[in-house]
């Protein structure tokens, strides 16, 4: 419940504060958002599995974001940034889907 409230608060803050994204962050922010989304879905699944652990959640959240950003950064340095970004998004998308499927099985048995 508090997590949902936090999510809503974050969205509202982002919409109303309208902060400018720093230039150095701009290529990584979308990937970081997708990675964080993956971590949140994973956390939700763990919660339903009864194995949710806040420490694991924090570590996976931060690590996901950092690794995704690192891959994109490496890709940019190698000249394959757009392709690697696509790859990261695909992989994270697959993970989100599988987590969502697990959550769905938990909640609807289907």
């Amino acid at each position: 419940m508090i997590a949902a409230i936090g999510l809503v608060l974050g969205i509202v803050a982002g919409l109303f504060l309208e902060p400018t994204v720093p230039t150095w962050l701009q290529p990584y922010l979308p990937i970081a958002v997708v990675a964080a989304l993956d971590a949140v879905f994973g956390g939700l699944r763990a919660l339903l599995d009864g194995i949710f652990d806040d420490r694991v959640f924090v570590v996976s959240f931060v690590a996901n974001v950092l690794v995704a950003a690192l891959i994109v950064y490496l890709g940019d340095q190698l000249g394959v940034g757009s392709q690697l970004s696509t790859g990261v998004v695909v992989v994270l998308g697959i993970r989100i889907f599988s987590n969502a499927a697990a959550i769905r099985r938990h909640l609807f048995s289907a």
Binding site: I2, L29, A36, L48, D54, S82
Partner: protein, 304 residues
């Protein structure tokens, strides 16, 4: 302490509502769920139990409690929401700052290409505009040019009087030896020498403006004597003849004076040609401009 109680409460709640959903799972599920025992021998029972546990955990998680796990999850979800919102907003702004170099190069190419296309279009439109509006003094300038052109053409066509430097050629033919052939030779020679306007006449008699269509015919072709005169465009001229010619005087005089030229032929036939160079020759005889019956200016007629 209280947490445990709530969780146990939450665990004990589900059987009531879940029984309603037990229909599709068959008869086995009913009793098993009534037991509320998660450990069943049947697979369907396990699924149902997992669902129960999942919902229970979700429900318990929805209870706002200030546990560390909830707070951490809230903070991280807040970060996610904030970042997502910011990213969506930045994406809607569609600025170029976040794009990669290759994308920027492609966009630049597109823009350059588009610019070239639009510039070409603008040039075409400007040309059309200039044609239509003609600028500030366009129509006047065009009219003036057309008038000047009409004057030049009028002189060439013999519809306008002309004046300028030139020569006068007088041919006196006491023996009647000069016919249309000699006069025609003289005309051709003068034209070759750059004569711009020519008038032929009997001295102190009627004058005829010489134009492109001028014809010279002997009045009495069969006679050995040409004293009966020459018919020039329907006007009979007799000796002595006089040519008034506008052009470069020295060139015209030299053209007539060459060996074997007009003056030579005249003296061979016992006639006399006199060339006088003049500062100013006036040609006043006119010719009506013929209006063609069949020919039309090409490219201007509308065909109707």
């Amino acid at each position: 302490m209280s947490t445990t109680d709530e969780q146990s409460n939450a665990d004990s709640e589900p059987p009531g509502p879940d029984i309603e959903h037990a229909g599709p799972e068959g008869e086995h599920a009913g009793p098993d769920i009534e037991h509320a025992g998660p450990e069943g021998e049947h697979a369907g029972v396990a699924v149902g139990a997992a669902r129960v546990r999942g919902r229970a955990r979700l429900r318990s998680a929805m209870h706002p409690r200030a546990t560390r796990a909830q707070l951490v999850a809230a903070v991280l979800c807040g970060v996610l929401g904030f970042a997502a919102a910011v990213q969506v907003r930045a994406n809607q702004d569609a600025g170029l700052t976040g794009l990669r170099q290759t994308d920027l190069v492609r966009i630049l190419d597109d823009v350059s290409e588009r610019e070239a296309r639009l510039e070409a279009e603008a040039r075409d439109l400007e040309e059309t505009r200039d044609l239509v509006s003609g600028g500030s003094d366009g129509p006047l300038a065009a009219l003036e040019e057309a008038r000047a052109r009409a004057r030049v053409l009028g002189i060439l066509a013999g519809t306008l009087p002309a004046t300028g430097p030139g020569i006068e050629l007088t041919i006196s033919d006491p023996r009647g030896e000069v016919g249309s052939d000699v006069l025609l030779d003289a005309l051709q020679e003068l034209r070759d020498a750059g004569a711009e306007a020519i008038e032929v006449s009997t001295v102190d008699g009627p004058a005829v403006r010489v134009v492109a269509s001028t014809s010279l015919v002997d009045v009495d072709p069969g006679a050995a004597d040409h004293s009966s005169g020459v018919d020039v465009d329907g006007t009979t001229l007799v000796s002595p003849y006089r040519f008034r010619v506008i052009g470069e005087p020295r060139t015209l005089a030299a053209a007539l004076d060459i060996p074997g030229g007009v003056l030579d032929v005249l003296s061979q036939r016992g006639a006399q040609g006199v060339v006088t160079e003049r500062e100013s020759v006036e040609i006043t005889s006119l010719r009506a401009a013929p209006s063609p019956r069949y020919a039309r200016p090409a490219g201007e007629g509308d065909g109707s």
